[in-house]
Subunit: 179 residues, 2 copies
C-alpha cells in the first residue's frame, strides 16, 4: 500500500473490533511510526504507551467509556502522552507534535489492516479522566494524557464521513482562485 492509498483508506472507525490479538511486533511498528514524527525544535515531547494487557485495557476503556467510548472491544490500544516543553522561549509545539505522531500511527494502523479512531476530547475534557488514566499507568505528573487509539481488526466496514470538495478548502496561489 503506498502512502496515498493509505491516507485515502484511513478513517475513524467507531464500530466493534474482532478479538484477534495484535502481535507485539505490529504494536511496536505502530509506536515507532509515532516516535518518528517531526517535533517542533526536535523536542520530542510525545511519549507513547502501547497497551495489550487485557486488564489494563479494560480499565482504560471503562474510564473513557463513561463518556460514550465505543472502542472498548479493541484487543490493543495506544495511550498518547505529551510534555509541555517549549520549542523555544515561551512557544509550545507539543500539540502539533503529538498530532503528527498520532497521524503517523493511524496510517501505520491502516496499512497493517487494522482500524482505529483518534480519541481525544473524551479524555481531555475531563482532568479527572486524565488523572485516572495517569494513575492506572503510573504516569508521572510532568506528562499529560491526551489521547487513546484503539487498535484491532474491524468487525464491519465503518461509515466514512463526507468531505468538503477540493475547491472549498484548497486553492492555487491566491485564496479562492479557480485555477
Amino acid at each position: 500500500m503506498d502512502i496515498f492509498e493509505c491516507i485515502q483508506k484511513r478513517y475513524s472507525y467507531r464500530g466493534s473490533y474482532m478479538k484477534t490479538a495484535i502481535p507485539r511486533e505490529n504494536l511496536e511498528k505502530i509506536i515507532r511510526a509515532g516516535l518518528l514524527a517531526p517535533s517542533g525544535c526536535n523536542k520530542q515531547t510525545t511519549s507513547i504507551i502501547g497497551i495489550d494487557d487485557q486488564q489494563i485495557l479494560d480499565s482504560i476503556t471503562s474510564l473513557i467509556n463513561k463518556n460514550g467510548f465505543t472502542g472498548k472491544t479493541a484487543p490493543a490500544g495506544i495511550c498518547i502522552l505529551t510534555q509541555e516543553i517549549p520549542g523555544y522561549a515561551d512557544v509550545y509545539f507539543n500539540i502539533q507534535d503529538y498530532s503528527a505522531a498520532i497521524e503517523n500511527m493511524l496510517l501505520a494502523i491502516t496499512t497493517l489492516g487494522y482500524a482505529s479512531c483518534w480519541i481525544e476530547g473524551q479524555i481531555t475534557e475531563s482532568t479527572e479522566t486524565q488523572k485516572q488514566i495517569a494513575n492506572l499507568l503510573n504516569i508521572p505528573a510532568d506528562y499529560i494524557v491526551v489521547g487513546f487509539l484503539p487498535i484491532g481488526i474491524p468487525e464491519n466496514e465503518g461509515k466514512r464521513p463526507s468531505y468538503k470538495s477540493f475547491s472549498q478548502r484548497a486553492w492555487y496561489n491566491t485564496y479562492g482562485s479557480d485555477e
Copy 2:
C-alpha cells in the same frame, strides 16, 4: 515506498532546493493528502493554498525570511490556514487538525522524492507576518495563516536530527516498564 519507509525517510530539510519545477499534478496530490487528514468532529478546519507562482512564492518567502527562513530556493510551497471552529461546545481541535494535515503532506512530499520543512514558529510568532501573508494571498479574516511548507528536490542530503531511544519515550502497559 511503503508507509514505514516513508515515515523513516521524512525529515526536516533546511538546505537549498534545485530549481526543477513541481508539476501541478504532484502539488495536487500533496494537497489532497492534507485534505484527507482526520479532523476533530469532522469540522475540516484546515485549508491549503498551493503556491507555484514564482513572484508570490518570492514574496512569501521574503516575509518568512525576515526571521531566518532557509527554504526560499524551493520552486513551490504550501501555505496552511486554519479556522478556529470548535469541535463541540468550547473544545477546539484545529491545531490537531492542521498538524495531521501537515504530517500527511510531509509524507506525500517525501514519497514523491521532494524534501520540505515544517515552518510554523517563524510565521506564528509574529501576527504581523501572518497578516502580511494573508494580505498577499487575499485570505479572509476568519482564516489564520499557521504554516508553510517549501517543496522541492533537495540539492544536498540534509542533516537528520538525533532521536531519543525507544525506551526513553515508549513503554508497554505501564509507564517506564521494561517489557
